[in-house]
Amino acid sequence: MTEKIILKDDFLKICSDLLSKGDTLLAPGQAEYIRIKDISEIILNTSALPPKTSFKSYAFPRSEPLLYYKRGKNDVQIIDINVEGKNIVVIGAKPCDAESLSIMNHLFTWDYEDEFFTARAKHFIVIGLMCSNFDEYCFCTSVGTSPVSEKGSDLFLIPLDENTFAIRIVTEKGNEFLKPYTEFLKDGNEQNSAMITKKVKFPEIAFDKDEVYEWLGNNFESPKWENIGNVCLSCAQCAFACPVCHCFDIVDEDYSYSEGRRMKNWDGCQFGHFTLHASGHNPRDLQSKRYRQRINHKFRYYVDRFGKILCTGCGRCSRGCPVSINIKEIVSNCKD
């Protein structure tokens, strides 16, 4: 890992160059990662809380067509869709969002490669930005990441003062990305930025993820699930806001008597119909079972399968929950 130093103005010059090249630039806004049209929209603010949604929708859109079809007299004509990835640069990704694509990547490649995701994901350049603020919902430290974690970022920014950033080159992709702009870079010293990162206040570790893993394995039938299930309204807002939730539903949409298309849409495991079988049987018929599934999936099953926790600790699900369910509190309670 090498560290360089870049002036903020120079960094913005890079951004405006990218814009002129036609790349898509994303930066955190109030509610979501907004697509930058003008570099003045880029505010590299370390103290902002994560926006309400992450940038996962740019790799895994909330709705996308998989194919088009047309019914003929005796046949069905199909047109495939080739996703042509174009560069997407995320500027100032929160550390808790930066890792999201790499976590989701496991799911989308483990047996069948979902080219709709991968074609886009591989064109992502994630420029992370250190985070200096947290609220009662943040718990990145509990899931193995932190406000200064470079995980998932290709480049990572740490503000040294108002006008200068230390820029850490985390991946080869990041290195390649910076190559045309070496003129703006000065050599940096890791110790300088480490001085800054050390001062950053971390959210307290709320739970031990390994203990939680153990407990979940032994407490499938715990009455705790029922207590949460009674209060939860099954709205799945949590899943839609989550940077790593990746469930989707495939539906065919007709748009005339003979033509239509197959859509891949976001889905959420908290919906009552998520697991409804064609037979009418629903193995997760109660909200308690669905909530149990959500926690188990994030903190046990995904770990079993891919070795990673399916959670970045961003706290969005709790911040937006209409009935104030706090996942941090619930997972912390996953102990005897």
Partner: protein, 163 residues
Amino acid sequence: MDKEKWEPKIAAFVCNWCTYTGADLAGTSRIKYPSNTKLIRVMCSGSVDPVFILKAFERGADGVLVSGCHPNDCHYNAGNFHARRRWDFFHKLLDFIGIEKERLQFSWISASEGKKFADVISKITKDIKSLGPFKAYKQMNSEFTVNFPEYNESSNSINKELQ
């Protein structure tokens, strides 16, 4: 779209007992009217769901007519009264959301009003023609138009969004 050549597409949901029969009477009386409107027969104007109308817009209709028996003449006594309340709200809602009022029209046409049927169809056709194509919905629909058999890459809006 060539405005000269453009012809509106209008869907009419009509009740079996009054308006459909009225339309038949217009035919029997050989009263001419524009051919843009196609009728979908339902049993009662009370059975027309607002979603039918949204669907018609989604499927490219430029205008929709809902027509039933006059108040007090409903074959089922009260179906049209319930319909009337429903449309009052739905029309107001669509208007608030910004859909031109003339896109969705209502009428009472009895089985003996062949002339009125032809007049209403002529009027709605004229109204819709003067409004032009239903751009608001057509725009939303444009992302669905794929040219078969040649596939047109640019029609994939999500791709467009990303590019």
